[in-house]
Symmetry: C2
Subunit: 168 residues, 2 copies
């Protein structure tokens, strides 16, 4: 691998690790467990799972891959806060949409060259991109990786503790 | 900038954004606010701040930059869970050690070439590194960036909500 490919590989590993631990965390949960909140008065696990799926679905148009696969998620999990949303989805549906979204993203991510990754995303104009070349796909992908990590950190707070005290 | 430099720049932005939002979140908090837990029975904010500082301090030897600046943090914030630790630090001390650690890391990060970033970290043998070249400094830095994000997501749960419901 060239140095460019190795740097991209490191970013892709961070992305993939984040997606994998999100799916490993949420998939085994029952509908009852998905109703748990991460802290009193905060989001339910069901909402966080859908929120991550929806934010990542929006990467498809933002990175120029294609249209959103599940635009209806936005009203449920992004535009409206938990408990102010229209009907949410069952765990089986969340597992399916999340898998489709992350599969479509990975199909593009895993074949992009350095030039592809450093191309501008679709929400920045040519003019702005000349001034701010960091507004590229690679930066956006890393940003969404930390977004997943933020919510993963919250989700695990709803997990029964196996030790005497929480380690966060 | 070359493609390599742009890819590194994207990674450094993710790191820097994570450090900056950690510091911006914790620095203004009073000693009383630092005693708040992120969820019932979970870590106090004071513990999370020190935990992040300590884990990042350990990057100094791991990435071959130098010795740890504050090895005593480990017993307080990593080896022992919150409330099972020896005396923790006041906010003013945490601000200082965290600033020193992140300053020392940035001094190295901001001058490394692609070759420097793709060099092995110090906890992997030459032999293992030949088989697993992804065990390099860039991968470790991105990994610690998501580590910060995980705990940032938890820390913000202790912040008073400004809207009717929590958005997580």
């Amino acid at each position: 691998m060239t140095a460019e490919q190795q740097l991209i590989d490191a970013g892709l590993r961070a992305w993939k690790d984040s997606v994998d631990r999100i799916e490993s965390f949420f998939q085994p949960l029952s509908e009852e467990q998905l109703e748990q909140v991460v802290a009193p008065g905060r989001n339910r696990l069901r909402y966080l799972w859908g929120h991550i799926a929806s934010v990542n679905d929006a990467l498809l148009p933002l990175l120029g891959i294609g249209s959103r696969l599940h635009p209806a998620l936005d009203a449920m999990f992004v535009a409206n806060a938990d408990r102010h949303s229209p009907a949410l989805l069952l765990g089986s549906a969340l597992e399916q949409v999340s898998g489709e979204i992350h599969g479509a993203l990975w199909a593009a991510f895993s074949r992009w060259s350095a030039q592809d990754w450093l191309a501008k995303h679709t929400a920045v104009s040519d003019e702005d991109f000349r001034r701010e070349p960091h507004r590229n796909r690679f930066t956006v992908m890393l940003n969404r990786t930390t977004h997943m990590a933020v919510h993963y950190g919250q989700a695990v707070l709803a997990r029964p503790r196996t030790r005497g005290v929480g380690r966060g």
